[in-house]
């Protein structure tokens, strides 16, 4: 059995879709001869040729705009942002053109815009961002944040096949750190479905992306003290699996909302609202948020370490909530 890394899983997913469907192509900066800054498109130029693996100028808005145009003509473009941080430069095309075409005039825009997000590698304020909420707040888009190699592959395939625009955030910290043995069949992971990573009875930790591993490690530690965490990995944020969230809360009656993204306006707020609106009667304690503080992502190790939610944060808050 061979283990497949998270980054390789994404590459395989795109590759297989390109083999199966000649409407699928990739475009972006350095995706061709270089195979992408993180090698997600490595080997594709040789295999699929320069008209399906397109090196572009440094024009994020142009890249997404071109993807939209091609998608309107029936193609299935997969646009790479070299770092997710640079999606800021394509914000207008994504939120105004891609997101609203179907609603306005019934024209689907089946594009995928993907790129590496997240911190933990000392990338500083412009190579570590978590831009998901800018797009979750934009109806017409879908947003996914896989945490495992299996999901990375299954979700990129679903994203490519989806008739609507999908923003796909891959966590660069996980690229080579998580691996698993992947089934050889053509599996997909549906957009909008969460996954329970650990069954537990005392407290639900609802999270996504790299924080899933923080939650699981905290759960291991708390196990020793007899505190039993449930860990729910959302996998998709727009749409998100409301049923799974409410079910977990109704079971444990206590909730920790965990994400790496900035606190204010983060996804935890949306979850808190849903829970306190629809599971109010089931709550035996306050809803607790564990998130990055309201600052840019700092660069120096001690600062970034402080910035990122930690196992010890989850352990501390879980203990407080357990004792509540």
């Amino acid at each position: 059995m061979s283990l497949t890394t998270y980054v390789e899983a994404i590459r395989q997913g795109i590759w297989e879709e390109m083999e199966k469907d000649d409407r699928v192509f990739v475009l972006g900066e350095d995706v061709g001869i270089y195979g992408g800054a993180f090698k997600v498109t490595a080997g594709m130029l040789e295999r699929f040729g320069e008209w399906r693996v397109i090196d572009t100028p440094i024009s994020e808005s142009g890249i997404v705009g071109a993807a939209i145009g091609a998608a309107l003509m029936g193609m299935r473009p997969v646009a790479e942002m070299q770092f997710a941080d640079f999606i800021s430069c394509a914000f207008d095309q994504i939120t105004n053109f891609a997101a609203k075409c179907r609603y306005r005039w019934g024209a689907g825009v089946p594009i995928v815009v993907r790129g590496p997000s997240g911190g933990g590698v000392h990338g500083g304020p412009f190579h570590s961002q978590n831009p998901e909420m800018y797009f979750v707040h934009t109806p017409g888009l879908k947003v996914v944040c896989p945490s495992t190699a299996y999901d990375a592959k299954g979700l990129i395939k679903s994203a490519i096949r989806d008739p609507d625009p999908v923003i796909y955030f891959e966590h660069k910290f996980l690229y080579r750190r998580v691996k698993e043995d992947l089934p050889s069949d053509d599996f997909v992971v549906p957009i909008g479905k969460a996954a329970i990573r650990r069954n537990g009875s005392d407290i639900s930790v609802i999270t996504y992306g790299a924080m899933v591993y923080i939650a699981l490690d905290a759960a291991k530690e708390l196990e020793k003290e007899g505190i039993d965490l449930e860990v729910l990995d959302l996998r998709s944020l727009l749409p998100f699996d409301k049923e799974a969230v409410l079910e977990s809360v109704k079971k444990t009656n206590k909730v920790i909302l965990l994400h790496e993204d900035t606190q204010i306006g983060g996804f935890a707020g949306e979850l808190a609202a849903i829970i306190s609106e629809e599971a109010f009667e089931y709550l035996d304690g306050p809803i607790r948020r564990i998130t990055a503080p309201n600052t840019p992502v700092p660069y120096s190790p001690p600062l970034e370490e402080f910035f990122l939610p930690k196992i010890s944060d989850v352990v501390r808050v879980a203990r407080e909530l357990y004792a509540y």
Partner: protein
Amino acid sequence: MKSNTLTRDAAPVSLPPEKTVLDMLYYMKLTRELESRIERKLYRQGKIVGGVYVGRGQEAIAVGSCIDTRPDDIVCPSHRDMGAYLIRGMSLRTILAQYMARKTGATRGKDGNMHMGDLSKGLIAFVSMLGDNVPVATGIGLSFKMRGQDRAALCFFGDGATSRGDWHEGINMASVFKVPVVFICNNNQYAYSTPLERQMAVENVADRAEAYGMPGEIVDGNDILAVWDAATRAIRRARSGGGPTLIECKTFRMTGHSAHDDAGYVPPELFEFWEERDPISRFERFLTQRGFIDKSGIGELQHRINHEIDEAIQIAEKDPFPEPEDCLKDVYFESPTEQ
């Protein structure tokens, strides 16, 4: 502005076939009448919902450049290109219902005025953000090139839109990829209240083409034959793999920016200067001189147009508004049968 592009009133070396020539007149007059009804009648009667922007005086540009497009070509109009919708086959009723926010409008009431699209007619709906349609047109051309199709895309924008970053990114990529797209600028010399010299430090929008290694051509946008001539050459070039072209059509906005702007900031002489160069009367003069049509023929044509529009207004006025709950529909793909 090179004044010769303004006085030029002769036909190009080769004339289009008679049917095309008469269609040109029909569509220019239809555009003019339709927009006049919308702006000066229906809007004032309070029957139009939201703002109104018309292309009075600019009719030759959309009509002259779209008249010879093929059904499988794609057109990305901007906000003063009504002729494009008409030529591509959008019905008067659909257009009027759109402006009156009815369920039968091009966007079923979801969006307003010239924000109309219909893939079956090769029409891409304009978004307000000026210049956004430029990279999109580039991507459309890219898809043609990838699939070895000999289709062409036409992309319209105003002089003001050329200051947008998206315009630059889209034009540059179009040239690097040599895509079959014809970029057509309605240079009406103002962006809202802002004259050209406050927008750019060059005399012509076409001067920008060179910076992208793209051929740029200046034409008298009020001379429909000149527009047709340049556009057909550029479209032929595009189909045959020659890559994109930028065509600058010199014209003038003979109204305010929108129905509620009196254009007090425009020197009256400019309106007079351009009134004399009205694209429709010029073309009528040319056609009568050449014996394509006579005064009474023009009168009948106008009569027919008025009648078509009257009918369409009557129907559209009776068309239903959307149901409130339609607000929730079509944010995402719904029927499971697509793909």
